[in-house]
């Protein structure tokens, strides 16, 4: 219950966009107007219409009050957000705790040119740090200010003393250094969505229905197929709308740094636009996925694991926030992966691209693994490179998991009773929650301990060199 201190000596506080209540209540407004407009035009309102209008008026009053009572400002190295109509809440978000700042534009907000600023705070839920809604320009400016201030605080510079003077300059410089890395064209996206397992199932279902029609002369099974078709169309449409106009760009490093970018920025969405910034120093690993139907075309998808940002689990159903390239030629995807991995090698010369996952020699699982993994054993492979641990698996979708040695959390060996009879052991490299889960399954028991100890030594060396 802290009242906002609005004294003139304070740094000015700011409000959200005055259109915020309108955007939040837009659906309600439309619904009420749609159900009462002919009554309104006739000037003859029934009790139901009066009730709806009263609810609307109350909502509008509450929205306006909520808008009036919500303020934010940057104080030293904190973002302070005061909210609450009846019970007041004052939240302070320390800028050096910010993992990332995303800008999301839900469809209605986008019509009005507004955006929501979402702040990822270490250990906080998504709702912890959200400012909705600001004008898009304000949101972008605030993001730049927060991020540059965070970098300043992290770099140990005294942002508290003269932060107000330094931050705007830094922000404009960082913003101007944004450079487009890759853009997804609509044709490729549509083709990639059609070339999916769901399409095959859909065609099989259609063939079954057609066959039933020919044999029995009636469309008995159609009713059962309709929900499947609708579900398929919805899934693919959600991906299309989420990945529409997908743009990946790099964001410049702090002043004086050349070569590797400090972060990449993902912009995507048809109705709801979202902008997500991934700090390369926090990248924990990448996954290159190649579904069966894409392989002939040489296409792949790239997902990234970021600490403190679980995102999606990297499955094929539905769009995922961890995806940094939904579909692209494999060579392009690998180039992007190398750029993303550069953040794990702060000491390396910055003129070179990051380490190449394809350069890591992979060795397959021994043939006797077929007794425990009858089909999938053929697709298992793994190896340790100079800078990276790489493992590949998957029958339908071939997934290549890549973890830099510097980002290894812990290592595990596991052996079930059946594997013991065959002399096989699983080796796992643990990563923070996210799409990356590196497993070298069914390795030969004789070599696996050597692999474990080599990875352990490489990881320790990488930790020491990246810390120093």
């Amino acid at each position: 219950m802290t009242p906002p201190e609005d004294g003139p000596d304070r740094r000015p506080y700011r409000r959200l966009s005055p259109l915020t209540p309108l955007v939040r209540g837009f659906i309600l407004l439309i619904a009420v107007l749609a159900s009462t407009w002919d009554d309104l035009l006739r000037g003859d309102l029934g009790p139901f219409a009066w009730l709806l209008l009263a609810i609307l008026a109350a909502g509008a009053a509450y929205g306006a009050a909520s808008w009036l009572r919500t303020t934010y400002r940057i104080e030293a190295d904190e973002l302070r957000v005061d909210t609450g109509v009846v019970s007041r809440q004052s939240r302070r978000i320390r800028v050096d705790r910010l993992q990332g700042v995303d800008i999301v534009q839900p469809f209605v907000a986008r019509i009005f040119g507004l955006a929501e600023l979402r702040m990822d705070v270490a250990g906080g839920s998504a709702r912890e740090g959200s400012l909705a809604f600001l004008t898009l320009r304000d949101a972008e400016a605030l993001r730049e200010t927060l991020l540059s201030r965070r970098d300043a605080v992290r770099a140990g510079r005294n942002a508290a003393a003269d932060g107000s003077a330094a931050a705007p300059e830094g922000s404009t410089a960082a913003a101007s250094r944004e450079r487009v890395l890759a853009r997804l064209d609509l044709g490729t996206l549509l083709a990639s969505l059609l070339l999916s397992v769901e399409t095959v199932l859909f065609l099989v279902a259609a063939a079954v229905v057609a066959a039933a029609f020919v044999v029995f002369g009636q469309l008995g099974g159609v009713a059962g197929v309709v929900p499947v078709v609708v579900g398929f169309a919805l899934t693919q449409f959600r991906k299309l709308s989420a990945y529409y106009d997908f743009t990946l760009s790099t964001v410049g490093a702090a002043a004086g740094d050349t070569g590797w970018p400090a972060a990449v920025r993902v912009r995507r969405g048809m109705f709801e636009r979202s902008t997500q910034t991934i700090t390369l120093a926090r990248v924990q690993g990448v996954v290159v996925s190649e579904p069966l139907l894409w392989r002939r075309l040489g296409w792949a998808r790239l997902d990234v694991a970021v600490a403190g940002y679980a995102g999606g689990q990297g499955h094929d159903n539905g769009p995922s926030a961890s995806t940094v390239m939904p579909v692209a030629p494999r060579g392009e995807v690998l180039a992007l992966a190398r750029t993303l991995l550069t953040g794990s090698f702060p000491g390396a010369p910055r003129t070179e691209p990051g380490p190449d996952p394809d350069a890591v020699p992979l060795s397959p699982a021994p043939v006797r693994a077929r007794w425990t993994a009858p089909v999938s054993w053929r697709f298992l492979a793994g190896g340790l490179g100079e800078d990276l641990a790489v493992a590949r698996e998957g029958i339908w979708t071939r997934r290549t998991h890549v973890v830099p040695h510097a980002r290894v959390q812990s290592l595990r060996l596991r052996q079930g009773p059946w594997q013991r009879r065959l002399g096989l052991v699983d080796l796992r490299v643990d990563s923070p929650p996210g799409p990356v889960s590196l497993r070298m399954r069914h390795r030969d028991a004789g070599e696996v301990r050597g692999l474990l100890e080599r990875e352990d030594a490489l990881a320790r060396e990488a930790r020491l060199s990246s810390a120093g």
Binding site: L411, L413, R414, R420, P432, A445, V448, R449, G450, R463
Partner: protein
């Protein structure tokens, strides 16, 4: 060429024999409770006597098997402290070896439930940023658990690597 689950040094540091005693006591306790339930039900329910005899025989056969298995499992717990990481091995049936670098530890837990306290043991749990890291050592003598926790914490601080 090394056996996959061999100790990194000379030998595995074993956990307290009290862990096996605790688990044996649990097996006996569960068997006694099951026999009591069967006995009470046999007085209350009109079911042929052969079914009750079968149930009793089943419990009496399963209990010694469980006794042997939990004892074997307890003997397979072992750990080894090294300069930069901790090795933990466990599981007689599903064998697991975990390597946790001290620099990756986020925090260390020491837990002791009422039963564990009665047997004078505690378990130490290491957490990293990955939920997959299942690094737990049960059945350490209480003072050894405290010593290990303090040592791990100080090593973790001096070698912390961030994310």
């Amino acid at each position: 060429m090394k056996e996959p689950f061999a100790p990194p040094g000379e030998r595995w540091e074993p956990v307290s024999p009290a862990l096996a005693r605790l688990r044996h006591a649990l097996v006996v306790g569960v068997a006694v409770v099951l026999l009591a339930v069967v006995g009470v039900l046999s007085l209350l329910l009109p079911v042929p006597a052969a079914a009750w005899v079968g149930a009793v025989v089943l419990v009496l056969l399963a209990a010694p098997l469980a006794w042997v298995l939990v004892g074997r499992n307890a003997r397979w717990w072992g750990y080894a402290e090294r300069d930069a990481d901790l090795y933990i091995r466990h599981g007689a049936f599903f064998r697991t070896l975990v390597v946790v670098p001290y620099g990756r530890m986020q925090y260390v837990d020491v837990q002791a439930g009422p039963l564990e306290q009665a047997f004078g043991i505690a378990s130490v749990h290491l957490h990293t940023a990955s939920p997959g890291t299942s690094a737990r050592i049960p059945g350490l003598p209480a003072d050894e658990a405290a010593r290990l926790r303090d040592r791990l914490t100080s090593l973790g601080e001096s070698q912390a690597a961030g994310l």
